[in-house]
Amino acid sequence: MYFLELKEIRKSFPHPAGKEGIDILCGIDLRLSRGGALALVGPSGSGKSTLLNIAGTLDSPSSGQVLLEGRDLAGLPEQERARIRNREIGFVFQLHHLLPQCTVLENVLVPALARSAPAPAERLRPRAEHLLQRVGLADRQAHFPAQLSGGELQRVAVARALIHSPKLLLADEPTGSLDLSSAEELARLLLELNREEDTALMVATHSHRLAAAIGTIYSLRNGRLEQGYC
């Protein structure tokens, strides 16, 4: 049994003029084993982010199944999907989306404030500190997002995504807004953590270097998925 299995995923959006809907994903099948990693590549608008959001329960497919350890997530109620997102899935976005009002450490602990969080924030503090040390920001814990560089902000976002030791880390263009060296540093970090934390990693990216570093590459074009570059 695969850790994550997407079966016949279809997604279409209504046409603005009310005509027939636009198909973004046309029957995607994808499998990812525990601790595995894959990169999704494809031109803009090809549906990479949509597929990632569907895998992370932020969006629902028009049809098809999203199986996480054999459980179909598509039909779950919102409360349950929120619980799964909190405990079992981590997200990293192109923009860091850190809370400007909170310090770096607090930002990492924010997921612990959700009702479905497995442990209170105080108990997770050592892990947050450990993660920050791991991403090289141990000395920036008390800083606010406004005082950090773009690469540092994105590393905080990675630490935040890993606070509950998720089984699946979804990253949507994580290096998209970073300079080359920061991007490479972040890519290295994601892969190290993938190995260290035994977290399955699924990255949507335009970066060939990042995709190559991950190894397994899937291309999304015209709503269909193919292994390797098209």
Binding site: T50, L58, D59, I84, R85, I89, H97, P100, A117, R125
Partner: protein, 1097 residues
Amino acid sequence: MNSWTLLRRSLVHYRRTHLWVLLGTMVSTAILTGALILSDSVRYSLERIVRSRLGNAEFALAMEDRFFRAGLADRLAGALRTDAAPVLRTRGVAVLSGGRRRVNRVEILGVDGRFGRLGNCPEEYSRLAPGEVLINRALGERLQARAGEEILLRMEKPAFFPKDAPLAPDQDLAYVGRYKVKGIVGDEQWGRFQLQANQVASCTAFLPLEGLGRDLELEERANLLLLSVRRGEPLTGEEIGKALRTVWSLEDTDLEAVPAPEAGRLEIRSRRIFLDPAVSAAAAKIDPSSQPVLTYLVNRIRKGERSAPYSFVSGAASPLVPGELRDHEILINEWLAEDLGARAGDDIRLAYFVVGSTRALEEAVSEFRVKAVVPLQGAFADRRLMPALPGLAEKESCREWDPGTILDLSLIRDKDEDYWNRYRGTPKAFVSLAAARKMWANRFGDATAVRLSGGPPEELVGRMTSLLDPAGMGLTFQEVRRQGLAASRASVDFGGLFIGLSFFIILAGLLLTALLFVLQTEQRAAESALLRALGFSAAEVRARHLREGLVLAAAGGLTGALAGVLYNQAVLWALRTVWQGAVGTSALHLHLRLPALAAGAGLGALTAFLAMVLTARRQLQSPVPGLLRGERFLPHSPKRSGFLAFVTACFCLAAAAWILYRADWRRPDESFLFFFLAGAMALAGGIAVADAWLARLQAHGRGSSFRPAFLGIRNLARRRFRSLGLIGMLSSGMFLVFTVGAHRQGERTDAARRSSGTGGFALVGETTLPLLYDLNSSKGRQFYQLEREAGPAVRFVPFRVQEGDDASCLNLNRVSRPRLLGVNPRELAERKSFSFVETLPSLQGQDTWMALDEIPADGPVPALADQTVLTWGLGKAVGDTLEYVAEDGRPFRIRLVAGLANSVFQGSLIVSEKALLRYFPSHSGHRFFLADVPPDQVGGLTERLSWALSDLGLDVVPAAARLADFNQVQNTYLSIFLILGSFGLILGSVGMGIVVQRNVLERRHELAVLLAMGFRKREVRSLVVREHLALWGVGLAVGAVSSGMVILPSLAAGNAEVSWGLLLLLMALVAGGGLLWIALSAAWATQKDLVPALRRE
């Protein structure tokens, strides 16, 4: 890190936007709290006024035209173990020495130390010497008199003998005295004493009781008795009634018991000349053979060509008049028989006056057959049968007679003089009691004396005293303190009123709160999305936002409540000064109560929080991926909602058109509600049209016409609900402020119409002293020297005035017994004067005025009043009843049968004159009149009336002006609404400014892109301006069209007094404020370097 840390951090981080949300909450809370405190303050102030005006007085016995012996107060005080004060009360005109200033309707009170004791200032009033007067502050201010100056008081001279009674004197009706002002008494010296429940202090002059009694020829008499609050065991009406029965005597009232000429018989007479029927009835119970006597002065007794002038004739029962004397038979004495040459069996005629309207006596004639000629001796020579008529009884010669009746003294012959000298008023003829009553009984009584036997006189008097009910003689106490406090507690709800008047500013505050909260939520959309991505449920994210909102609402509530105290102080100051027209008093005091503060804070916080809940609910329904991409609005189906808006618009506009079609355009005032509804529907329809337009833009764009302006217009559709909110706020603000503001009532141009509030009358007059003669009669016009100016085309409609509380909107108290105006309703029915808003269904199809004359024998008296008085002044509706107390102490009910459209009668109830006289028979004269005057004679007649009736304290004004005076209260409220509404508009324009700025801020990157694409800064600025101008223009247009529907009919009819200056100012506020914000935001948006915005993108 925990939830509270996050909350605290968010509050601090977003403090700038939070501050605006807090400000919005604070404003609405301050207004709410201020209104609640105002409600408490007004009630507290009114209660204070009740205590100021009543001092320690708890019960009062107030008689209008009857008098009791002042000593009764002391006896009653002793029996009840409390203080009591007798007061002699009349009304008059005060003139500052030299005639420099004159004040009508002055309450003149004869008081002594006993009165002062009830007001906790015995010294003040006990030291008043003859010739000295204390005046209260209100009179002092109006006269501008100071201590030591002299004032002239011309006062009504009350008397036992009612002035409207036949044979009442028409001279000596007023007393004029010159007094030195000893001092001016304020509230602390009980200068505010008055029985009427009114916050406006009456003008009062205090004179020494003894001196005033002497001047008015009412020594040792009073017509007002005040009983003090009893410490320990409170007084009850029942206890007072019992005590009164034990201490009162016949002499305390108008009755006097004198020995009758026949041995062992007692005669009861009245200083009022005519005896109340209850007295004869009591005498009959003691002595079934008691003998009522009715003696009357007849003008002529004629037989053929011979006649005897001015003779008294008595009607009595056996034994004075033989029992077998039939009603058409008469006994004449030998003197008369000889004078007329009459014998038994001859027919003779009696000509005599009967009571008509006011003092207009009408001569009637009755024919009798002489039964016998009786000798002038024994019972037939009893000169005491003649009542002690003032102006007659005390005269030595009958040529000196001076009764109020038109007597031709030249007719008196020497032999008549001789008879007077020898026999005085000894009756010359006798008829049966029934015949006498048929001819001469009137509303004042049906006997001039009653004679009874059956025991020693003292015992008979005692039995009479115990049989008669003092309450039936007018000795009725009212619980004035309780009634006053009840009236003040049920007063006009100023809290509700001010919440209503501040409606727009509260709404604007709440809208601002909601708007800013939404903007803030939108601004933090990505944060919300992130939390969702991190596993927070939508409800949790919403709860997080609302928790912040709750803190803001609570903080806004608390600070708003404190600001509410300041706001209240400002409103109280305004009500005491510039808005005094609404309350008529400057005695308003701040009264802070914790419950009001807490309720204001709680209510303010709660409403603000609810506004946040409602708006946040929608915002946080947005899908996460969109929010993460920075999309801050909820995608929705513009087609469906656009269709809904279109349907709503069609429905509302059709409804507005239908209402306009149904409304009566000739009577814009009566149809105001229709026009307002039509305007409101047009407003809703206009907003719906705007919504449909925006939805259409959102769904389809604007076809092929792709121009720069199109970008801006499309942007309006992108933020559709924000745009709609602005249109709604602008148009509603304009609608409310303009429709209400432009509906001020001025002097009406239709005042000459019979159906208007003036009844078509040109003048309204009110006198302090009664008009005893009919102003329509030649006698009356001659008496008042009006023959020249009051031509045949001038007609007066007089009203009797039975004093009561003022139920107009000038009185804040909820009164229960308003002043009664008694009129002959035919006068108004024939003219078809005034209009009715509502009548009893049972009166449909009949003349409403004439319904006043349908007075059931024992049912309620029909009455009518202005509908506004019924609703607001009395808290009643057509069909309800009110309880009054008649002159003789009997309670009676008044039923409200109709409500008048706004009229000159505001504040009073109108009843039939007949009904008023039935329950207040001693009532004398008219004190209110309406005058029909040809337009070219109005000026001359007003001047003449003012001069001729100045001694009666006449205030005469054009009827239209009086109506406009009443409208001043309404206009003051409208001004308050306008001023508070302008604050709301300012707040609304701040909201608009924030929205415009926010719109621009959010689109900085778009604008930057336009610049990058080669647009010039001016073009970009123009784009921003045009976009918002479209919103502004649509909002103003919708507001203007809908408010126009309401105000144009009134403007066209010339009924609305538009304060153009204020409206233009408001227009400048609304329009200019919006333009200013648009211009500033556009300038700001393009002035800054937009390139960084591109980098952020």
